[in-house]
């Protein structure tokens, strides 16, 4: 009797889920709703939901509704791998979006590639991923650093000191800084890589003071490393700081007591203050509209960050590509994405580069003031992710599944 019931239930489930799979497009999402990275990631999750809701309200894609299958990866790379396999094998999703840290991305990219699963990584990162089935909608160093570093050197001086988190993101980002400083005729007066567990910075601060840099690049990641800012302010370090990660992700300027971040400069491809700072024009209108729609759905969102814009754009680009391909088949969608798909998102048009699978961006230079108020002294329009393409990554014509760095470029 028991066996019969189990059989009936399971066959019902199979039929039911089979029927469901046919009339929806399943989007797998792996994001850190809890854990170390949750602060920066929750707005991303909400942006996926917002985009899916809007697309479904407008009739879906190819007449099908989008359906999200989401797991909380808890800022834990083992969870990423476990849930990545579950999304592919059990949930049979059509595409996967997600990951915050580069370590998490690298922990699942291989799984995606092996299973020919289309994967969108929607985060600013250290750059260099050249992979046939992977698409990156976040900003990369040639967009964030080749704008920021020369600007800082021109304004404050040519001696640069880098402190960076000691893992792939920090190491490779620091390598970028080194390269750009050299190209711009500056000098690296110091460099320190700091383990993610370190929370006390008196020694680091003194080392920096000894080296007397004009510009301090702070590529620090996570809550413990963020303690650096309060400690440098209380020690009176008083050196202009530049970074690609703070403010735009975990909105430290709102969370920390001023003046911990005073005189910090960040290049972002979006933050929610854009329309407050820029009083009129394209960027004002688009940002204002995005924030309005976002808050209508999530009125209590503490901050709408740049990764939310990247996540939002990713869903739209995917849907446009599926529409164009007329199918959810991975290779067909990849081909459609390589046709120069673009989306007019919260900070203007983002276009997918067919060669490198990275998006172009509007880059805003954000300056944090004494009371942690934000100004935007400079905007760079339509900055291309040029480096991979120029170095020989050409995914539209040549399959590849690697990550490259300035010291290890693609072999031609």
């Amino acid at each position: 009797m028991k066996k019969i019931i189990i059989f009936l239930i399971s066959s019902f489930l199979i039929v039911f889920s089979g029927a469901k799979a046919a009339d929806t497009i399943k989007l797998g999402i792996l994001e850190d709703e809890t854990g170390n990275f949750a602060i920066a990631v929750v707005p991303k999750i909400h942006a996926y939901e917002l985009a899916v809701k809007e697309i479904n309200a407008a009739g879906g894609v190819l007449g099908k509704k989008l359906e999200i299958v989401r797991y909380d990866t808890q800022s834990d790379n083992r969870r990423f791998q476990e849930f990545a396999r579950r999304l592919i094998k059990k949930d049979k999703v059509d595409v996967v979006f997600g990951a915050f840290s580069s370590a998490s991305r690298e922990s699942i990219r291989g799984i995606m590639e092996k299973n020919k699963m289309l994967y969108f990584y929607n985060n600013q990162y250290e750059g260099g991923v050249c992979s046939k089935t992977t698409f990156m909608t976040g900003a990369v160093p040639e967009q964030q650093f080749s704008t920021l570093v020369p600007w800082m050197m021109e304004k404050y001086g040519k001696n640069v000191y880098t402190i960076a988190a000691d893992y792939n993101f920090g190491q490779i980002s620091a390598e970028w800084v080194r390269q750009i400083v050299k190209e711009a005729g500056g000098t690296m007066v110091g460099e320190e890589f700091i383990p993610l567990d370190v929370s006390q910075y008196s020694q680091t601060i003194q080392k920096i003071q000894k080296a007397k840099p004009d510009v301090l690049m702070t590529l620090l990641v996570g809550a413990k490393q963020a303690s650096f800012y309060e400690q440098q302010a209380s020690a009176g370090l008083n050196i202009p700081m530049a970074t690609s990660i703070n403010v735009g992700q975990a909105y430290e300027h709102r969370r920390f007591a001023p003046p911990a971040l005073e005189n910090m400069f960040v290049t972002v491809n979006y933050i929610e203050e854009v329309h407050d700072v820029i009083k009129s024009g394209e960027f004002h209108d688009k940002s204002k509209d995005y924030v309005k729609r976002f808050r209508a759905l999530y009125p209590n969102e503490p901050y709408i960050n740049m990764e939310s814009a990247n996540a939002y754009n990713a869903i739209y680009m995917y849907s446009k590509a599926v529409e164009k391909a007329g199918s959810t088949d991975t290779m067909k969608v990849v081909k459609a994405l390589e046709s120069g798909i673009s989306h007019d998102g919260p900070s203007g048009v983002v276009t997918m580069d067919p060669k490198s699978h990275h998006g172009s961006h509007t880059i805003f230079l954000v300056k944090v003031g004494k009371g942690h108020e934000v100004t935007i002294p400079k905007i760079w329009k339509d900055i291309q992710p040029y480096w991979l393409g120029e170095s020989g990554c050409d995914l539209a014509n040549k399959d590849d599944y690697s990550q490259y760095t300035p010291s290890n470029p693609p072999k031609n």
Binding site: I39, P195, V198, T204, K224, R255
Partner: protein, 289 residues
Amino acid sequence: MVFLFNIFYQLGDSLAFLLLAAIGLAVIFGMMKIINLAHGEFITVGAYGTVVSGKVLNLPLPIAMAFGVLVTVIFGLILEKFIIRYLYGRPLDSVVATWGISLIVSQSFLVIFGPSYEGLQTPMGNFQLGEFSYSEYRIFLIFFALFLLSLLYYLFMKTSFGTLARATIENPSISSSMGVDVKSVYTATFAIGAGLAGVTGALYAPTMTIVPSIGQAFIVSAFITVVTAGASPFVGLVPAAAFLGTVQTSVTFFYKSTIGLIAILCAVILIIRYLPNGFSGLILKTRSK
């Protein structure tokens, strides 16, 4: 001159961190032999007590800190009454129980206060010496850590309560037959340990990012300092912290933070291999000769 002051500042900073990380644990683990894996969460309670009362009730910082410590003492008393009381003399069971407590507490903070809470500004200013500038508050922390430890040494080594507490923990049944109220002594000692962890949380709260895992930053340092301090923590704590601080600071200075972290752990391994009773064992042995 500046060079010497730098050495003092960096060693002192590292010493203060190790001492303050370890001080509550020295009572609860060092004396009472409860392997308290929730030590970090006691620090978290102290930090949140300070920051939340400072923000919500708009209290001045010293009063907010006192409030944070008070909250931690109450938290410790409640835990002692309902859980820890049944774990005296059961060190392995205490590992499991306190680990569970630590998970519950940190997750509760996450649920109640969210993934991060706006911090307080570090009090006092900074001053300049040659090309360097220093945070006055961190210098205050060095002296306060030493002051707190001497107070603790006095309390447990020189007062009658201290004698009672040590006797009770050494041999509860004899103490009980001598008319000591064993339960109250245990409770009071545990509350002091919890309160000291609360002090650590309160003191470091204005210098760190306020997240539910803030206490985790202290736990490794706390255990290695107490373990290297040895059987009599109040005697061994300062030399242990000074030794570990020197190793970490000098290695970090000449190499980098990563090697500094590795060096401190290697130093601990060497200590427990060659000085199984820690620094206090060494000191007491030389003293008795």
